[in-house]
Symmetry: D2
Subunit: 212 residues, 4 copies
């Protein structure tokens, strides 16, 4: 294949979920676009770093704001955000989906992944130290009522949630033994579209326990 | 195709989820079995009616018992079944799946389907009259505490649940105005395997509301 | 689960492509049918053996004919069948599909499967001896022009075709050294729906070689 | 969502086969890469036009060569390319796949698509005029023996092939009435992986006709 096409296809092959054939199709797609589309795309890719920052409090990516230099994202710096709630999510994309639901008005913390099972120091793979810093500061300063561990309902998510519940509990007792912060996890039950005929026993048990 | 093979394939084509090709494969599969397998299969199909009854109380299919002639299934006639709970399910196969989870020890009622949306007299499609009979008798006799509406989490299931909550409430007030029976539905939230990245807003809202 | 339902579901689980849940659904489907449907189905299953014979020449299943007792199927006993052609297929269902195309008017021979790769005496798994008998008789009696090996285009099919070409060649030379029978395999190329973008190199090579 | 992330996701959504969620994942993937990866990707996208030309003879994309300014791609300018064969393909990606098979050593012509069925002037959607120019020149100059129409085996491909056979035939007779150029299409039959049980009648007919 033409070297320039091949080389660009190799880069697209690294994109999540993209195989060699689709990577090639991306290049041919770009060849059929006009110059201004290609230049616009390239500029946006390069400018990402200038446009986007990592929030120094919740570690989500956010649009840089030239007016402010707090290092805080729009959620963390918004006075209407409920500071007494922190929700821990694995990834930015989970956070965006939860935000879209409109069901939550507190702060977030992006963990950066799930705890890998069967690894020596799994807690080094995710932002445990940053979480400790945030919780310690918050426990001293703010009126923190609850930490919500919001992870996917799969084995790695459950393993990470168990780790976090203990980890956060220990931090809370060490920082301020008299505080009574609640550590919760997302509720389990039937999710939209679940059919009883195909549900596993855990889902049925949870759906029964949480009946309302 | 050979007429006998074609005719039997036509019957298998009526089985749930079976297309013409798989129906043919079933016939060739049977041709390769020995006589005793075929005879055994045929006998079991014919004997279903003699072996299986419809319970006169919960309307599930159950194994006939020559020793007893109550017309009641093993769950309804079991003294250890919690008579204060009735769980309404759409189909036998949902009931079997819930029973398998071991999470429920009360009685059941098989509705025979879900309420079709956009139909003149949808309540005639499901066992509403039988349900009324059961509830009336039970409210007079037993110490009924709760009716659990256990339906799939889809539009027809939700529509049926709304109908049943009102229908059961009306029966309860009419039969015994002083009773306080609870009418519940299965809890909503993340089900096993749900990933936050792909969850719809309703599931996220419910998972947050039911956090624990 | 109810024993009779469970037992019949166990039998359906042996059907090709049927898992435990679909097997259960089959039983509930039957419970909702009327007696005459169940009796009809059972009778057809039991009668298969009385209705269907294995042809003593081509080894396909065929409808027994009380008028004739030749042991030959309708194709083998049909005078309009072209006796100078024999097509070898793996299974009855392949034969039926080829017959449906209307493209072939010769005789068939059902091999009973494909040669398993990596087995000690693979030729014992398929009807090689019966094939030898048929070819020997035919070579002596009829004007056999061609044997068409009609197998699926996968590794086992190709392996079996290679075996058969040699096997048939040896039989032909041994029986009648002066005969010139053609041994052919199905043509390769683009099949309906094949897109060039996704074709493997073998298919492209064959499509080019067989261009017309 | 963050505006820069949203805007770039919108551009990726236009890529072939990419939905809104995967487009977002692409942006987060890029955010996690380092600056040099992003800069490299952007440069390659912008440079495509400088690196790649459209061949003035076969209309495929090819790597520009500073040493040569013929406007011809490496295949068209390669003296070892068999000039007596022209293969017409719909898209560059088909051409690359055929080239990869190593089965063809002649020239190509990229049509730019297939003839849309049910359109007023469908021939304006593909490079019919350029094809006419190429054929006229070639017929006068070179020893053209065969034009191979290499299109996918679907209704649009067949419709286009029928159109091209007549179109090319007319050009050939008009340009040089005494020439006998062959116009061929790719062979049909079983393609790799085809199972006889599931083949359509056309494929079976072709596989039989092209048996070898």
């Amino acid at each position: 294949m033409t070297p320039s096409i091949k080389r660009l296809a190799e880069m697209f092959k690294k994109f999540p979920g993209i195989g060699p054939r689709q990577a090639e199709r991306f290049v041919y797609f770009l060849l059929f676009q006009n110059d201004s589309y290609r230049r616009d795309l390239a500029n946006q890719i390069v400018d990402l770093k200038e446009q986007i920052s990592l929030c120094s409090s919740c570690f989500r990516f956010f649009q840089k704001n030239t007016a402010s230099s707090s290092g805080l994202c729009d959620i963390c710096s918004d006075p209407s955000t409920d500071k007494s709630l922190i929700m821990i999510v694995a990834k930015d994309i989970d956070l965006e989906n939860i935000k879209r639901s409109g069901a939550y008005t507190g702060r977030y913390f992006v963990l950066g992944g799930l705890l890998p099972i069967l690894e020596k120091h799994p807690e080094e793979k995710i932002r445990t130290t940053k979480l400790k810093d945030l919780l310690t500061t918050t426990l001293e300063k703010d009126n923190l009522r609850e930490v919500i561990v919001a992870l996917s309902a799969n084995p790695e998510g459950d393993y990470t949630a168990d780790f976090l519940k203990k980890y956060i509990g220990d931090i809370a007792s060490a920082t301020n033994p008299s505080t009574q912060i609640k550590i919760s996890v997302l509720g389990r039950g039937l999710s939209t579209g679940t059919e009883l005929e195909y549900s596993d026993s855990d889902t049925i048990k949870n759906a029964l326990k949480n009946r309302e």
